[in-house]
């Protein structure tokens, strides 16, 4: 049986950085059977372990590309690299986009990889989601859910 994992990435204590985690929270109750939903820090071994053995993975993270806050970005990372520039990176950890490429190089990437980026407004410590991002989170949860349902129907025997 095919296995799908949905991973929400982010730091819940840094304003809009919580967007990915918030989407995961919304989906946790509603995801179809056979879909695993996890919240995760963007840390390579944890991400790679989280999707180990899955055929399909959905990743949700925050993006900073200069678009208006709340803008949704969609990438098919099974086909091509995700622009690392839009997602976080640091000297101290490697980000989600780099982890996807690392896993690709190691042959540890599921066949289907969809990446959703929510354009962030602010990253203030202790702040909650900004209104535009909160609305985007709700819309994205619906979109991912519809996609998961469709995937389940098409993959059913």
């Amino acid at each position: 049986m095919s296995r799908t994992v949905v991973i929400g990435i982010g730091n819940p204590l840094r304003g809009d950085d919580a967007a990915g985690v918030a989407v995961a929270e919304l989906l946790r109750e509603r995801a179809p059977a056979g879909v695993e939903v996890v919240a995760c820090s963007e840390e390579p071994s944890r991400l790679i372990e989280a999707w180990e053995g899955a055929d399909s993975v959905v990743l949700v993270d925050t993006v900073s590309s200069g678009a208006p806050p709340g803008t949704l970005h969609r990438f098919d990372a099974g086909e091509e690299a995700v622009p690392a520039r839009a997602f976080r990176s640091s000297t101290h950890a490697i980000g989600m986009a780099e982890t996807i490429e690392l896993a690709r190089a190691l042959g540890r990437l599921p066949g289907r990889v969809r990446v959703y980026g929510v354009e962030a407004g602010g990253f203030e410590s202790g702040a909650s989601l900004t209104p535009a991002v909160e609305a985007a989170v709700a819309a994205l949860a619906d979109e991912v859910l519809a996609d998961l349902e469709e995937e389940r129907c098409t993959s059913a025997p």
Partner: protein, 431 residues
């Protein structure tokens, strides 16, 4: 032609105003070196006021996704010392085991994913994985074992939930811990391989001459407890920290940087721990260090990758020793009653000394909190080192110089991940 140039590495725009590094040169003269570090602890210090003293470990664990156990441990040490609680040996051993798991995870991440590509001429671990997948797989396997230790003892790896002031919510059985033996034995072999691998890298010969500060505890390589020692002769209880160290406000930022009172840069972390306490490493780790060519001390920041690898061996060895010696305690936690006053706690986070101080009232409400992470303590030393590295390499072009600067910063494994986006490079040339 103007010889004036600025090399800056800025965070991604999403964290506005939180720049990382600026180096300004006028010809061969280094005009300005600045490392800017966003510091979540300032927010957490305010957030802690008014909360229960029992919540401090849980709240501070969220400061860093890489070293939550360090924050928990320093907070717990502060609260328990204030409230006069001494935990029984099995609880202390479990804490040390949990902390070893964090060291394994953090060091494996840094050595393999971040630092090694610098030495091997790769832009990142991705390129390294294409050419040498077996090396990156080794790093991931080591990290995973560290994770497994954290999950088993801490209940969860990113934010261990099984940890409390006084002990644990639930303690593992001997049998449960035995499940870690085989993975840890494999990890120890991998760690030894890591030492041999990193020892073969090319190192520019560098020596930092600032003072070194690390914890010491008799008979052991200090991790979860100890007195504060320096190469310059300090030997302090955690409560004496503030008398000897001070934090300076950095202009235009909420960050603080530490120095010895009266002026004096110091370094904490692997180089300091090793140089002050190599004799306390496990025999196997000492042997690996000797084979790698490390002497009694190591003051070369580039060789910190070898020291971290040696510490990986020690952390695996120590974990196995702790598991072997573990006897389940009578109860998972000691009762703790709040005592009004000020508590002080220290521990050795993977990247260095982590100091916590709390003032609480008789009800256990936190009135005041102070947290000094290792990266603030190392900041002046990193800037001094950067200045010197740049001064000796002004002939490099901007791109080569930027890479060398980033590697110099990475030598210290600074904890800026919680907010840092170290991506864009801007090179400005004056006219």
């Amino acid at each position: 032609m103007s010889s004036r140039r600025t090399i800056a590495t800025d965070y991604l725009a999403r964290v506005e105003g939180e720049g990382a590094m600026t180096v300004r040169l006028d010809g061969d003269r280094v005009e300005h070196v600045e490392l800017r570090i966003f510091e979540p602890p300032r927010f957490f210090e305010a957030f802690l006021r008014g909360r229960s003293f029992l919540e401090a470990p849980d709240i501070t664990a969220r400061i860093c996704g890489i070293c939550p156990v360090a924050y928990q441990t320093s907070a717990i040490n502060a609260m328990e010392s204030l409230c006069g609680v001494e935990v029984p040996e099995p609880i202390r051993m479990l804490r040390r085991l949990l902390y070893c798991g964090e060291w394994i995870e953090s060091h494996a991440l840094h050595v393999y994913m971040l630092h090694a590509p610098d030495f091997l001429g790769y832009e990142s671990a991705i390129e390294l994985a294409r050419d040498a997948p077996e090396a990156v797989e080794r790093g991931l396997a080591l990290k995973r074992t560290g994770n497994d230790v954290m999950v088993l003892v801490g209940g969860r790896e990113i934010h261990p939930i099984n940890v409390r002031v006084g002990g644990f919510y639930r303690v593992p059985t001997r049998r449960e811990l035995r499940a870690l033996v085989e993975p840890l034995e494999r990890a120890r072999e991998t760690a030894l391989e890591t030492v041999r691998w990193t020892a073969g890298f090319d190192f520019p010969e560098r020596v930092v001459d600032c003072d070194l500060v690390a914890l010491e505890h008799r008979g052991e390589y200090a991790i979860e407890r100890g007195r504060i020692r320096s190469g310059g002769g300090l030997d302090l209880a955690p409560a004496e920290y503030d008398e000897h160290f001070e934090e300076l406000h950095v202009e235009r930022s909420n960050a603080l940087q530490s120095q010895l009172r009266g002026g004096g840069t110091y370094l904490c972390g692997p180089l300091a721990r090793y140089s002050l306490g190599a004799a306390q490493l496990s025999p196997l780790a000492r042997e690996a260090a000797a084979e790698a060519g490390l002497g009694d001390e190591c003051r070369d920041p580039f060789r910190s990758i070898v020291v971290r690898s040696v510490e990986l061996v020690h952390a695996c060895d120590e974990s196995l020793r702790l598991i072997e010696a573990y006897e389940e305690p009578e109860r998972p936690a000691e009762p703790v009653e709040p005592v009004a006053g000020t508590g002080y706690g220290v521990s050795e986070a993977p990247r260095g000394l982590l100091y916590h101080r709390y003032r609480i009232d008789g009800e256990g409400t936190i009135l005041d909190a102070k947290i000094v992470p290792p990266t603030s303590q190392n900041q002046l030393a990193i800037e001094d080192d950067l200045r010197d590295v740049v001064a000796h390499n002004t002939r490099l072009d901007d791109e080569a110089l930027r890479r060398l600067c980033e590697q110099t910063i990475r030598n210290y494994d600074p904890c800026i991940s919680c907010a840092t986006h170290f991506l864009e490079l801007e090179v400005e040339r004056g006219t």
